[in-house]
Symmetry: C2
């Protein structure tokens, strides 16, 4: 049992995270989540009627954490901040340890067409990523490190698609070799960085 009172929303979210990583989404039951929190299912049902409701609250919780963590990015210029943001979002530090979580998330993504509330939450995550990238790229155009003819919104959609691709491949074929990152850096260097800008894009 964790230190937090296990029927607080925070403790339920931690238990949901553990249970999802252990069992995956498809087979997950309220009992699994109760077991991960050392509590009864009755305590969970006090807060959430169904597994879907609990999972929606969990996606909300992830969204809060995600947007807090990635609201700002360090870097000397916009290009460095862009590469740093993409690395952060892709959890470069723990790309293999993250597999169980990414698998559960992909299962939830695949349920989106059957469940509008899931799709709405996932669209919020996506809008956050695109907004952040668009903002960083626009900063780069303004400061002269990114080419003036680069469209920030188009670039943001492109990079969000790449991120989704990397996350899908990590689950589907177990690809964690970072090959896409190398080509992403080449894309940034050749396609985004303004001619003559004093910017280093290094692995």
């Amino acid at each position: 049992m964790s230190d937090a009172a296990p029927d607080t929303p925070e403790a339920i979210m931690d238990a949901t995270d553990s249970a999802l990583c252990e069992h995956g989404y498809a087979d997950l039951t309220m009992q699994d989540i109760a077991d991960a929190s050392d509590k009864s299912t009755a305590a969970l049902h006090y807060h959430f009627d169904t597994k879907e409701e609990l999972l929606l609250a969990f996606l909300d919780h992830l969204y809060e954490e995600f947007t807090d963590e990635y609201a700002t990015t360090e870097g000397e210029n916009a290009v460095e901040r862009l590469v740093g943001f993409v690395d952060d979002v892709l959890c470069r530090g723990d790309i293999e340890g993250d597999e169980a979580f990414q698998t559960a998330l992909l299962e939830i993504k695949a349920q989106a067409p059957y469940a509008d509330p899931y799709r709405e939450k996932l669209a919020q995550f996506d809008a956050f990523v695109r907004d952040r990238v668009e903002e960083i790229v626009a900063d780069g155009v303004a400061e002269g490190t990114v080419r003036a003819d680069v469209d920030p919104a188009d670039t943001a959609a492109f990079i969000a698609t790449l991120i989704d691709g990397v996350n899908t491949r990590r689950v589907t074929i177990g690809e964690t070799d970072g090959g896409t990152r190398r080509t992403f850096l080449a894309y940034v260097r050749d396609h985004l960085v303004a001619a003559g800008a004093d910017v280093e894009v290094e692995p």
Copy 2:
């Protein structure tokens, strides 16, 4: 009932396709597939012991169709063939009609970490796409339409990742607006096409 004898492998594959698109993967039963073929589950079980075995045969069948269909691509030069190949693989002609199938496929992809045989088949699809792109890009370097410093294998991995991203987003957030294609064309134009090559990259 279709014209083909409904217990032939081909008819079972057609029924599997229909049933997957109607019910999705998670809820799919042998009975659903039998219903779609107007046959008994006993007829299916004569060929396949479990739903997983049948689905593996279905993935094999898709792989045969896919690799037959996309083994060659028309185009005046390698750049045109590359854009044509990506468009073909993304089923541009019917990007919305394709949603039910893509949803079922993403459900299967999310099961890959739990089922090695699924992962192996999916890795075969991916290897085919990467090999084709690598071959086309290498042709482009040889004929002078693609920049000499472009790495065909890295570019192939990058494009395979983009394709996975587009397919995931189609299912997850219902994105079918083609915005990524526009940026992909800009990437091809700015990053791949050799300086001075007589190549048009137009939407």
